[in-house]
């Protein structure tokens, strides 16, 4: 009976009900769009950042993070790779040799960061190379080839096929050089990355650094970023060596982590603002509705409705509005999310590709909403809306029939 009365009250004040529903639906849809695009951007930042970096989880010698040096490397990797691949959450894992050095040409020298990779297992698709502007990608683990960024090529006046010299400190601490030939020139979207980031066949790097078959790290890529903590725990338990560090990407790329946390905080602030706007709207409508119906509420109580039942009736009205408004908002919001997830939000006319916090941001933003997020939005908006109905409901329950039914 209470629900029936509540539903009819909502139908009777249709315009007011529709306005409130629209407000809740709009807020819900807006929250879904904002959170979807926010999460999608984070996913993109993390994905691109991890491609440039060392995966979701990095396995490297203990102390390498604090003091990277070619003298610190993992001598044996097959056992580690076997442990890693046994985890079902793991998508891929790549042995890599990273380091820093100076790349020289006839035009001068530039400090660079290099990564020795095995193109047989690690193709260009998994790295954040937007496109090869000229030349080709590496085609094997051996050969004196180097793939460099567009900016570096400009600085050193290098073209495909030209020679260049890489000077590094090897694992013994000796300064050594190797002659490389430019295999390809890529374009990542970030001038900073294009200037510093280079790729060399892994065996060439191992030979140059005199580290045998050793690697400086194994980059572990997971199917889902949210599995990082779980897999990290499992790998730390399986690889119980004091000489090996198993680190999450947040440790390897603290600037990316900080940016994601900061951006999340702003996202939640935005979410809070939406909630406050929706809450004020709901509170205003329900309170006005209670005050407008003071006489009716007085009648209900005069004929014997208990204060508690009046309270439940108003809360039922709020619940119905909340459910209908949030459900409508979810449908509208999901429509936008679906569009942005498939077509993306193209901001290329406002902003190009740029790098931030050690990662690259595309100008096309894709929405990403996990079911848990949708449930979270639904629950938070429903609960907030219902909470806003509590004060008006108590106010209604405190109605004195005699005062409420005074002559109209």
């Amino acid at each position: 009976m209470i629900v029936k009365l509540a539903a009819r009250n909502l139908r009777r004040y249709l315009r007011r009900t529709l306005l409130t529903l629209t407000g809740i639906a709009f807020g819900t849809a807006l929250a879904m769009i904002a959170i979807g695009l926010g999460d999608g951007t984070h996913d993109m930042m993390i994905r691109n950042g991890l491609q440039l970096g060392q995966g979701h989880i990095t396995i490297q010698p203990e102390g390498y993070l604090q003091s990277p040096s070619a003298g610190l490397f993992l001598k044996e990797t097959s056992g580690l790779l076997k442990i890693i691949s046994s985890e079902p959450e793991v998508a891929l894992s790549y042995p890599r040799v990273r380091g820093e050095g100076i790349l020289s040409s006839a035009s001068g020298g530039e400090g660079i960061s290099f990564m020795g990779i095995d193109p047989g297992i690690e193709g260009e698709g998994e790295l954040v190379l937007r496109s090869m502007d000229s030349g080709e990608f590496l085609d094997g683990p051996e050969g004196n080839w180097i793939v460099i960024g567009k900016k570096l090529a400009e600085l050193l006046s290098l073209k495909v096929g030209r020679k260049t010299v890489l000077t590094v400190q090897d694992s013994q601490g000796q300064i050594t050089s190797t002659l490389l030939r430019v295999k390809g020139i890529f374009h990542s979207g970030s001038p900073e990355i294009d200037r510093i980031y280079t790729l060399i066949p892994i065996k060439t790097v191992q030979k140059t650094l005199a580290m045998g078959n050793g690697v400086t790290s194994i980059a572990v890529y997971l199917k889902e970023n949210r599995e990082t903590k779980t897999v990290l725990k499992k790998l730390r338990s399986s690889i119980s060596s004091e000489k090996i560090a198993v680190l999450p990407w947040q440790k390897i790329q603290p600037s990316l982590r900080d940016f994601v946390v900061l951006d999340d905080a702003f996202g939640y602030l935005y979410y809070l603002i939406i909630l406050i706007i929706v809450s004020i709207g709901v509170l205003n409508t329900v309170l006005m509705s209670v005050m407008d119906r003071k006489r009716e509420i007085g009648i209900l109580m005069a004929v014997g409705m208990r204060p508690g039942s009046v309270l439940r009736m108003i809360l039922a009205e709020t619940c119905l509005i909340a459910l209908l408004g949030t459900a409508s908002g979810l449908i509208i919001g999901y429509g936008f999310h679906y569009y942005f997830a498939t077509h993306g939000l193209d901001l290329s006319s406002f902003v190009g590709e740029f790098s931030l916090a050690g990662t690259v941001l595309d100008p096309v933003y894709y929405s990403s909403l996990r079911p848990a997020r949708i449930i979270q939005i639904f629950t938070v908006i429903i609960l907030t809306t219902i909470t806003m109905g509590i004060y008006p409901a108590f106010k209604a329950a405190r109605t004195e029939p005699v005062e409420a039914m005074e002559k109209p």
Binding site: L5, V303, M305, V402
Partner: protein, 227 residues
């Protein structure tokens, strides 16, 4: 044994620093089956008196007994239960619930009482038939005339089979003919089912028909006579 008994019933309204005495030390007894009217000029305390007897309001001092139960000290929730189960109300402005149909308005108190659906349906249809509204069950209050709305209000007041029906100026908003029809109906219910009716009114027709006339002036009973 009276159905209603009051002892030094007093109600004082405070409007800022000003005190308005609406009722002053009213002692009265209403018997089962009475068909009584409380009359008096505007502001004499008629509505206040009925509101107190109906547990819609609390007195400033004094006591009220309904069927020997003292009701002045009851909590809000207990007063709700009392109104639901023992008292029927008919108001001057009908006071139907606008979102409910005639049937649902009459059914409302039975729903509050938890009466099962089969019994509710039988009772409500019977009551609507008694008050002459058969066929109009699905009409909303705004689709009914004033007289029809007041009939629904009477059906609602009788639904819980109350010992007492309090009717606050029930004919004030009706034309003479409709008012007379309603009084006929209430008189008939009073004689057939022995429901106690207590009216507040200054309608001569109501005063004429009442078997007992209580006249209030300035919150005091100045006349109480059985005709």
């Amino acid at each position: 044994m009276p159905i209603i008994k009051t002892e030094k019933l007093t109600k004082i309204y405070r409007q800022g620093a000003v005190e308005v005495v609406a009722l002053s030390e009213v002692d009265i007894q209403i018997s089962h089956g009475d068909f009584a009217v409380v009359a008096g000029p505007s502001g004499s305390g008629k509505t206040t008196f009925l509101n107190l007897l109906g547990a819609l309001d609390k007195p400033t001092s004094g006591k009220i007994w309904l069927d020997e139960q003292e009701i002045t000290a009851l909590s809000r929730t207990d007063r709700s239960s009392l109104r639901r189960n023992h008292i029927g109300f008919v108001f001057q402005f009908y006071n139907l619930i606008p979102v409910l149909t005639a049937y649902e308005n009459a059914e409302f108190v039975l729903l509050l009482q938890g009466v099962d659906q089969v019994q509710r349906r039988k009772k409500v249809l019977d009551l609507l038939s008694i008050v002459g509204l058969s066929g109009l069950e699905d009409r909303y209050p705004h689709e009914l005339s004033g007289g029809q709305q007041q009939r629904v209000a009477i059906a609602r007041a009788l639904a819980s089979e109350p010992a007492l029906v309090l009717a606050d100026e029930p004919t004030a908003n009706l034309d003479t003919k409709t008012g007379q029809e309603l009084l006929d109906l209430m008189q008939q219910l009073n004689s057939d089912i022995n429901i106690t009716f207590l009216f507040s009114s200054h309608d001569p027709e109501v005063m004429e028909r009442a078997r007992r006339l209580i006249i209030l002036r300035d919150g005091r009973v100045v006349e109480d006579r059985i005709k």
